[in-house]
Symmetry: C2
């Protein structure tokens, strides 16, 4: 990212129509916008799904992204959560070779409210739920370990208080 | 889902090339396969991203999905985690009108290891991290409350032990 580029977390409410994810991601690809991370899952209304995505760009690019998203068929509502009071959380699983370093692992788990999800011999799966950037920090902290694999959700986000993503 | 259809969680390792998500989701749309939920985020190797998706179908459909995924440019590895020892976790945020029912909310949080993420007057955001199906159960348990909105990651998943998603 350049200096005038910022990371934005955007929530998109879409009709649960066939191919809606292909249309959204196709728009990004077609126009040269980046998707750094994305999640899509159903809402309590079976006709609607909710996409949360992380993208980056300067103010002009972000404005274009919001405009183009709003133009898409099946897109009902778009909110850039960067300018709103919100919670942003990412689930990250990290598999490491734990070796004889249980104490150091426990320290990192405590510091980031992590959770030891699985341990088989000297292979451990750690779980962290916090902001995407904070999860990046964990990976740096785990630098002394061999990181075998990671799996991340990207930020899942929601405005606080009574504002909701709805039409 | 019909009786002979099952939900499958599939991990896909992809090159972090422009438009790879559009190609993957476009293949699903083009061939009439369902995506029930999907997450994509970078791995520790900046050249690679990892997609976790939930789909459903009978054995023949799932076999087709795996075959077509493997054929896509930029797809390096595909694993159907349904037939493997694995952990599967979904992050779900639920905003409810909490009213005067703090005790009932605390009970549900305890029962599902949930977390009160935010509380503004009588609006609460609850966080749950567990399997997708178990999160559905939470929504049923919250049936007495007005659910204002939900945001979910879909399952994030990983094989346990030393097997990893790599080429």
């Amino acid at each position: 990212m350049n200096d005038n580029e910022h990371s934005h977390t955007i929530s998109v409410l879409v009709e649960n129509e066939f191919g809606v994810l292909a249309r959204v991601s196709g728009m990004f690809a077609g126009r040269g916008f980046n998707i750094d991370a994305l999640s899509v899952a159903p809402t309590t209304d079976p006709k609607l799904s909710r996409i949360t995505l992380i993208t980056h760009g300067n103010d002009q690019i972000i404005e274009q992204i919001l405009k183009q998203l709003n133009r898409l068929v099946d897109v009902l509502k778009v909110v850039d959560l960067s300018s709103e009071e919100r919670v942003r959380r990412e689930l990250m699983l990290v598999k490491i070779r734990s070796g004889n370093h249980q104490e150091k692992i426990q320290k990192i788990l405590q510091a980031y409210s992590g959770n030891l999800l699985d341990q088989e011999k000297n292979i451990a799966i750690l779980e962290f739920v916090q902001e995407h950037d904070k999860n990046n920090e964990v990976l740096t902290q785990l630098g002394d370990f061999e990181i075998l694999e990671t799996a991340r959700s990207g930020n899942i986000a929601m405005q606080t208080g009574k504002k909701i993503l709805a039409t």
